[in-house]
Symmetry: C2
Subunit: 239 residues, 2 copies
DNA sequence: CAGTGGTCTAGACCACCCA
DNA sequence: GGGTGGTCTAGACCACTGT
């Protein structure tokens, strides 16, 4: 086969997005309707959508559920090993952060409890947040904190760094951390909170945190849009 | 809408894969042909393929180009901050590693050179390898080594740890490392070397390595199948 | 209500893999 | 050469978003 037409389409669209200014992209980065693009490139919606899906996989464009396709902004650089707050590192990159607290409860979570080495029925503080970069929702996260380590935590506000709070108010020293990163397809709840279709490619980042005395402190799970971040870790010691 | 049919399909297939032993999966983990599955679930290939694509995004199944769909094996746990060799950590997890050297040359690479802080035309040793876990090709990688730091390197064999080689033969101490991880769509060359379709979801892991005197040593870029690995980093010092 | 993406049909032909 | 996935057509209806 010479080359699948949808791959040629992909290349054309990609190049027009990068150079050319792509006159057909409007001022907020929105692409024309699929039907319009399909007609312009003399093909059907199915084939056009294959090309769009390719670019989506590359992180060049993304879709907002039933609203249309948009050019994806530059990826955020993120170092999950540092405890700089989200607000800090987003601002440091010249972007605008925002955090929404979706829920604050006490509940049990077998996955979190077992990661922390506790009984699966051990109650935990649960905080759920949604975070934005330049008003685009890029991640939802669930934080599970061991109540004994930070009594009264749920009275606090959670629109800033949780780790900063734990350090200042409860003098907790976050020492050992175990971090796990795995690609995923966003499940229904996470996807709808991010305004994307179920199954959209995502990245799951989970941390388990212990203090200097190896007591379990916190477990958290972040679900990112895959095209929103680039992970960067700097290490200096030899292992 | 109640629920899209392909999502119901996805759920059924997922559950049958997890429990039930899925009698329709053969002994090597291969699924029946798309046409057969489509007929069995009373739908068309297009809709069935949507369901398969969902499971592919979840890392449950994968396809080998034009050969069929297969159940994905367990993800490999991988810590990119350690310099344990591929052979070592794959074996430690009870799996069987294999490395194929695809090419050994001297060439220029602007991306590698600039990451190392060298002139873009600075020649570098280039080693390209393909690596397998249990005979499944899971990644291709390009290694770019600064020739001045390891003269004669290209005479060596590269089916084992490069870092081990640099340490033993040239007494190089790998100190500072900058690691970057980003989701990607596998490009034509990488995809075909892995036997998958262009655009298949992948994970790109790049490292830039300096020695204790901050001299650039090596830059490498790994392209993994997204469902083949789970990244895990353990940290003990506070930052 | 108009426009958008999301889903789905019922076919077709082609390129590649393997026996 | 038979079977597989890969690509593509030309439609259709639906659900949701925004005005």
């Amino acid at each position: 086969m010479a080359e699948a037409y949808y791959m040629q389409l992909t290349r054309q669209l990609r190049e027009q997005l990068r150079y050319g200014g792509a006159t057909w992209v409007d001022e907020v980065g929105r692409l024309p309707a699929e039907r319009v693009l399909a007609e312009r490139f003399n093909t059907t919606r199915v084939t056009l959508r294959q090309a769009l899906a390719q670019l989506e996989g590359e992180g060049k464009i993304h879709r907002s559920n039933r609203r249309g396709w948009f050019v994806s902004p530059k990826r955020l650089e993120y170092d999950p090993t540092r405890d700089a707050g989200f607000n800090d590192y987003v601002t440091a990159q010249g972007r605008t952060p925002r955090t929404e607290v979706l829920g604050v409860t006490t509940a049990t979570c077998p996955a979190a409890a077992s990661a922390l080495g506790l009984d699966v029925n051990h109650p935990l503080y649960h905080i759920r947040r949604r975070r934005y970069v330049d008003e685009r929702a890029v991640l939802v996260e669930s934080l599970w904190v061991v109540p004994e380590q930070a009594p009264g935590l749920l009275q606090e506000r959670f629109d800033h760094s949780l780790w900063g709070l734990l350090r200042e108010r409860w003098q907790l020293e976050l020492s050992h951390r175990s971090i796990r990163m795995v690609s995923e397809a966003l499940q229904q709840d996470d996807a709808s909170e991010l305004g994307v279709a179920t199954g959209t490619a995502g990245l799951n980042i989970s941390r388990t945190i212990f203090d200097t005395r190896h007591r379990p402190i916190e477990y958290d799970e972040e679900h990112w849009l895959h095209d929103a971040l680039s992970i960067r870790v700097e290490l200096s010691n030899t292992t």
